[in-house]
Symmetry: C4
Subunit: 283 residues, 4 copies
Amino acid sequence: MLIEEPKTKIDRIRQQLYIVIYGTNTKAGKLFDIFLLIFILLSVLAVMLESVKEIDDNYHSILLSAEWFFTILFSIEYILRIFSTKKPWKYIFSFYGIIDLLAILPMYLSFFITGSNLLTSVRALRLLRLFRVLKLANFVGEATNLKSALKASRPKIIVFLFTVLIIAMVVGTLMFLIEGPEAGFTSIPRGIYWTVVTLTTVGFGDIYPITPFGQFLAMFVMITGYGIIAVPTGIVSAEFAKQKSANKEDKSTKSKTVCPVCDESGHKPDAQFCFNCGEKIKI
Amino acid sequence: MLIEEPKTKIDRIRQQLYIVIYGTNTKAGKLFDIFLLIFILLSVLAVMLESVKEIDDNYHSILLSAEWFFTILFSIEYILRIFSTKKPWKYIFSFYGIIDLLAILPMYLSFFITGSNLLTSVRALRLLRLFRVLKLANFVGEATNLKSALKASRPKIIVFLFTVLIIAMVVGTLMFLIEGPEAGFTSIPRGIYWTVVTLTTVGFGDIYPITPFGQFLAMFVMITGYGIIAVPTGIVSAEFAKQKSANKEDKSTKSKTVCPVCDESGHKPDAQFCFNCGEKIKI
Amino acid sequence: MLIEEPKTKIDRIRQQLYIVIYGTNTKAGKLFDIFLLIFILLSVLAVMLESVKEIDDNYHSILLSAEWFFTILFSIEYILRIFSTKKPWKYIFSFYGIIDLLAILPMYLSFFITGSNLLTSVRALRLLRLFRVLKLANFVGEATNLKSALKASRPKIIVFLFTVLIIAMVVGTLMFLIEGPEAGFTSIPRGIYWTVVTLTTVGFGDIYPITPFGQFLAMFVMITGYGIIAVPTGIVSAEFAKQKSANKEDKSTKSKTVCPVCDESGHKPDAQFCFNCGEKIKI
Amino acid sequence: MLIEEPKTKIDRIRQQLYIVIYGTNTKAGKLFDIFLLIFILLSVLAVMLESVKEIDDNYHSILLSAEWFFTILFSIEYILRIFSTKKPWKYIFSFYGIIDLLAILPMYLSFFITGSNLLTSVRALRLLRLFRVLKLANFVGEATNLKSALKASRPKIIVFLFTVLIIAMVVGTLMFLIEGPEAGFTSIPRGIYWTVVTLTTVGFGDIYPITPFGQFLAMFVMITGYGIIAVPTGIVSAEFAKQKSANKEDKSTKSKTVCPVCDESGHKPDAQFCFNCGEKIKI
């Protein structure tokens, strides 16, 4: 027989905090995440406005206050996150943990290094949390599909990218030798930069061939780029098509219960405890 | 037993007008829509020509007369549309109703605000009516397919766009910090603008990196952009492929009768009245 | 019983010529087409070289002689084509007939209009004949597949292009109103030109937005363009996938006999006469 | 009964060397390839750095020494490769053999032709060997899939590219005639260059139309390019989708044993000797 250990009061507070801060399945947890997202958006906006000289000249003190307000808020949130979880180190070194730290650090660093506060716009990465909030809507299935389709096609895409880089190196060298510094191809790395710009069909036009032979090679590169754009698209399309049929089979057997503590889904319909973290599923 | 209410003469005129103006299944209705489209095209052409300085200098009065002619015509049509329908408010606040109003308003506003008449080229949106006229041909099925394929892939595309925007914010900030104002990255919003221009492989070339590290980051962004262009394509491709097979099953059971009043299709083969608006299907 | 009509000598010559000039299944016919293609390529090359000022200055007389040589050759071929076919008017007004005429006309016109001889490079279109020669290889199946896949997706693509054009008109007007002549948006047609350049992700950079609001709208247009690039790709992909499975079923029942006179394929295995032109299949 | 021929000592050394240099299935062979790749990368890096003027001015002698070091190393490797294989001519004229020679030749040529040593960056092509090393991971299946998908769609893509080139020739001529030298269209080849730049949606912006009619034609070209980008993508997507289902059937019957001498896979589960080169499979 399984006997639940008696919990101290601090443990209960900790778990309540955990469910609000990390969870998205209770009403309080949802509200917390929504307000967090709004604050992140506002703080990113403040940093952006500060970078525009005309606006910063007029409203510098307001923007700076706003930035400090959000930084202190996010610092409190960061401490609470460490306090409430059972495995603080796991959080600190997780993807989100590092981003959360990076989002507050530049502001404190600005005491020592001028201008570093602009780095706070790394906070935009915190908006990725949105996907956690969307977990409740049918968006989460889509995000998972996207992620697993990209994961499945990863080896193909790595082979592809590697081929692209080798092409870029060879063509970049040839263009450097053919065109020379007058046309802007001042070094092989710049030649490679031009090749990537061209192969990806971006085509800034800051560097372009001027000799007939260089233009001929450029045409060859462009048509190649045009042709190979088909490869990643084909890979991902085939992956999506495969997933689609796989999804159909899955749908019926999936349970929709989600653990309020660790957000794990896929529990058996009659499960009482989360198979991942051991907490009770229904509170 | 269902007894049709006796109709007054004005009711009959109203319904006849409705069938001609809104419907596309009678000969008169078709003719009305075709003439309307020609008039819209001509009026858009007049506005365009007026915006070209050399042409406007020579033919200003002719173009202005033409614009007023079309505006008055469209105003009469707008009033008739409100008069003939049973639910005028539904029309006024519908997508097409608002466009129809926007198409005539700027001309009248030009009495108060100079230059506002050029906004009449919003009339181009009225050309979307073309899709209603094409309903008769096999184009409509295609338009519906396109629409429902896009609708089905909407959540995936929103997740995708959101990811793109977060990437743009982070990369835009980094480029602003790396390149600085000399290279044109005068603020974070401009950095974001550059990132979107690059990620979408448009590459105007109005702003471009000049430092080696900036160019390295740019290469990374471009290859990423090249890779993720595959994602929406893959999504929509898979959706189309799915629809194709679904269509095969549907085709046999669909009835091709279309209500002359509300353009609703999908009636049962033996239906006498439109299931949507209650009007008789065969007049 | 079918009795073949006795043929006069000129009729026999005519038919022999027809098989050589129009057909690609006899050895002579194949050789004729290959030489024709080489001559077309050389003549196109001559016109191109003539357009390069540095080359034309030095070799004008040689290039001009070459052009006249090819023009007279193609004129003779044109007359023989008309002479040898049974339905000369059908040829004259066919796609290839018009191109063949356009390929020789500009040269004769150059007596009256200077410079019109450069139009002879329209001859490049004659290279499309290559597909007829390739009929013998397995290329023809692919060309047919490409053509029928594009044909099947035509209505969808028309709906798509039409939507793109309406977007271009509306956005072009807005950009003209927002940016004005200082940024290069001197008229609505130029605004439309810019929108198409941006929406198709070409991005020349000859015109680009400079106001913050214009850049914001531009970002919106670019992401839209990025998204809708998926639509035609998805359409064509689905079409190809469909064809692929259809092909599998077809392959076994197709006969590979090709009529030497009219190039029609798909005859019954035991057919004696071409079902299309009535000529004997095996000579 | 099969009797293995007695081998001389030099034959044994040769075979051991062969397995280390050409093979990737023994530990020594794997290590050899990994070090080779690192050396190739370093040597390519040295050439790149040499091409950057600022770096070359300061570290010329170091970079030159590094280049000579790698060149002598690769020369020794080249000789050992010829020595260890049984069919030296087959290696010398193989794809990798030619690249290996090209990777050392320019350095020796630099005694006679100044600057030719920069051509050594062709060494980047040697990095393609990476795919052989990756053979052990599941990358190789992907690389094979990519290759066979591209091979299968080759005829379709050739037909497609050919059509693109004919379009480029005709449009290039028209643009040259419409725009003329003022807009940068100084010759027909430059017009063709512009058309390819535009059709592939690269859009450098070094040449662009300035007349209204030229811009109209440009819009047409861009939308066409946008449309036909779908064709190669569709082809490759369909090919990948086909392969995916074919793969499923294959997987179960494939044996994973790889010959240590010739890297051939696909042996029967109970095979003792490689069916390709006759060497013992298990050493």
